[in-house]
Amino acid sequence: MKVGVITFPGTLDDQDAARAVRYADAEAVPLWHADADLHGVDAVIVPGGFSYGDYLRCGAIARFAPVMGAVIEAAGKGMPVLGICNGFQILCEAGLLPGALVRNSAMHFVCRDQWLRVENTTTAWTTRYELGAEILVPLKSGEGGYVAEKATLDELEGDGRVVFRYVGGNPNGSLNNIAGITSANGRVVGLMPHPEHAIDALTGPSDDGLGMFMSVIDAVVNA
């Protein structure tokens, strides 16, 4: 079971995403941004960081990298894709997910342990969770405010495509307290908080994030 983890210039949490994949007993395969080959991986993680320094807009330049062309194509064929933080921004810029992420409403970078409610446990990345479970995962971003047109928000809510919602306060002004969403087929998920930093109580606020990486192993194995 191989999960690809992409590195763009400026990517920061790739090592951490790879570690989470290993903790879930799968093989993490590093994918270079300039290489349009996915090297036979079963799923892809687009990790957090500041790809291209957040120049122009977060993720605006990374979405045009050769590897992303291959990711978009693979996603079209049902490959599970997870976008974390900057990765979520890249997936939105690439059109794999609707909406966009804008500057935190309080205008500061925010790093905090954030409670989230899991509201969809049918996606490729969340089957290991109980519906309605509240998990504690680090959030660390300056541009985490999720926005979308009203029609898009209605569709997401109506179709149950909000996967994670902020509870106990909205840290960044995201509309409808949306922390993470999924594509129509439930295979592509994007979220602002960092599950890869909640895999071990030694280094994070909980190990609640591990479930996401274990879920995708199930999704691939059972495919």
Partner: protein, 71 residues
């Protein structure tokens, strides 16, 4: 520029700061971006629109206008 319905906290911060500096009468501030491109004759309006909409602006959250300025 950010679309009208998009929250613009940076613009709001600027609007709040003005009265503190003694400037009255400014009711709203929106903050956007300006790009200056030097182009040769082969780049027509259609292409500029494509450049704007596919890269310079995120049309989900931003509106754009293109204006030619002679050298």
């Amino acid at each position: 520029m950010p679309k009208p319905e998009i929250l613009d906290p940076q613009g709001q911060a600027v609007a709040k700061a003005l009265p503190r500096l003694g400037f009255e009468g400014v009711t709203e501030v929106r903050q956007g971006k300006r790009f200056e491109l030097e182009v040769d004759d082969s780049v027509d309006d259609e292409e500029l629109a494509k450049i704007a909409s596919s890269l310079l602006a995120n049309t989900v959250i931003e509106d754009y206008t293109v204006r030619r300025v002679d050298a």
